[in-house]
Amino acid sequence: MYSATEKALIASIWEKVTPHTEQWGGEALERLFAVFPQTKIYFKHVDTSPGSAAIRSHGDKVMKAIGSAAGDLDNMLTTLSSLSNLHAYNLMVDPVNFKLLSHCILVVLANHLPSEFTPEAHLAFDKFLASVAAILSQKYR
């Protein structure tokens, strides 16, 4: 599914994300709420104003989970298994939102890593985030 080049691209880009998971994760969520305000429905209990501590901490969580999947591409089903359960049985996030957040994550990567986020890196990441989304929606029905 991933060529050796794609695996290398994902690893090298993610290495640069790791020191910034809280800031960039928070930013991805901030972009999600600004561009797609309907997504705020999942965060009614949380302060979604730009730069809020709650959103930064949640963004950190999301990016770290994505990072663990990125660290073991051949075993994503196992790595994401409990998150898959959570999204299906507890959170019931409409799967359309995974695409929206993936897009915002790609925007954050392009924004902060303009020279590294080449079209080939973009392709590898688009594939990767689509897999993550598919696994998270897998147990919905």
Partner: protein, 147 residues
Amino acid sequence: MVHWTDEERQAISSTWAEINVEEVGHQALARVLVVYPWTQRYFSTFGNVSNATAIAGNPKVRAHGKRVLDALGDAITHLDNVKATYAKLSQLHSEKLHVDPENFRLLGETLIISLAAQFGAVFTPDIQAAWQKLLAVVTAALSKQYY
């Protein structure tokens, strides 16, 4: 009739004033061809568009990217009437080019990503939101003459 706030108009025009039209157009189109390779089918007359290197160096891709961005400039000049401005373009894409409208959305996404890469921190969430709204309006206008 699309309602634009003053902030949205300002966000769009201030970004547009700084855009390198040829570069961003090329980036956005190249990314579509690389990230969604089935779109290469629409460009069989462009020569070699089969891999990232060929796409990056292909002068027809570059020229077409610029053409697309120039047309976007038209929409920006006529923000209050994009549908009418794009009526002929919409007809062209549906009757002659047979482009599935999903591809307008894909190009919109890669254009946002190309803008994020060019502008860095200046491309704030609110500016992104204004641009995504513009591209949604453009996509709707381009799809209008299909039925």
